[in-house]
Assembly symmetry: C2
Homo-oligomer: 114 residues x 2
């Protein structure tokens, strides 16, 4: 079934919101942009995130094809996360979203509204 142009537009924006909108996802992607990271390193870099929450968000990003996960047969096991080619293409979009958010927050700060 062909989607109308409008539905396509809405769906395209929505999918970006869905994929990037998790509480820790922008930060995960942000840190992986500078290279592959181990789980523990990501956890330390991000700070306030729990083990469970980070695991969940990493799984969702992996399921969406944004990151890849590699397990090394070591003791203790080493798990590394890397942005996929698709994940790398998110960089400019996230940057645009971050910039607009900053602009918004700054404008609210200048003219507080009830």
């Amino acid at each position: 079934m062909a989607l109308s142009k409008l539905d396509q537009y809405r769906r395209a924006v929505e999918i970006t919101v869905d994929i990037t909108g998790g509480k820790w996802k922008p930060l995960i992607i942000h840190y992986l942009l500078s290279g592959t990271k181990r789980f523990g390193k990501l956890k330390k870099l991000i700070g306030g995130v729990t083990q469970r929450s980070l695991t969940l968000q990493l799984r969702q990003l992996e399921a969406n094809g944004i990151i890849s996960r590699k397990v090394f047969a070591e003791v203790p096991p080493r798990v590394e996360y890397t942005l996929t080619a698709l994940g790398l293409t998110l960089a400019p979009t996230l940057e645009a979203m971050k910039s607009w958010g900053e602009h918004y927050l700054a404008s609210k700060h200048r003219k507080p509204k009830a």
Copy 2:
């Protein structure tokens, strides 16, 4: 309380997701980019949206300072919506989100994953 750089980053992306992430919000903004519209016109342009749902999303956009609402004392009353200066600045960000979403959907289409 000063936010850490990380918190600022997360908050900036999150606010953009919050403000643009409503089911009909990208479409509302999209249509208002071409100029002021009446409620009924927006409803017709968007299609599948209910009166209640459109009203709710317009109110949220108004509360966030993205659109302004003007009521004309006519019979029947005329209500018009216009993007604010702040709302206009969303255009390139929404465009980036739309483009990436299209890219994502196309890539999924090429390599279907379980």
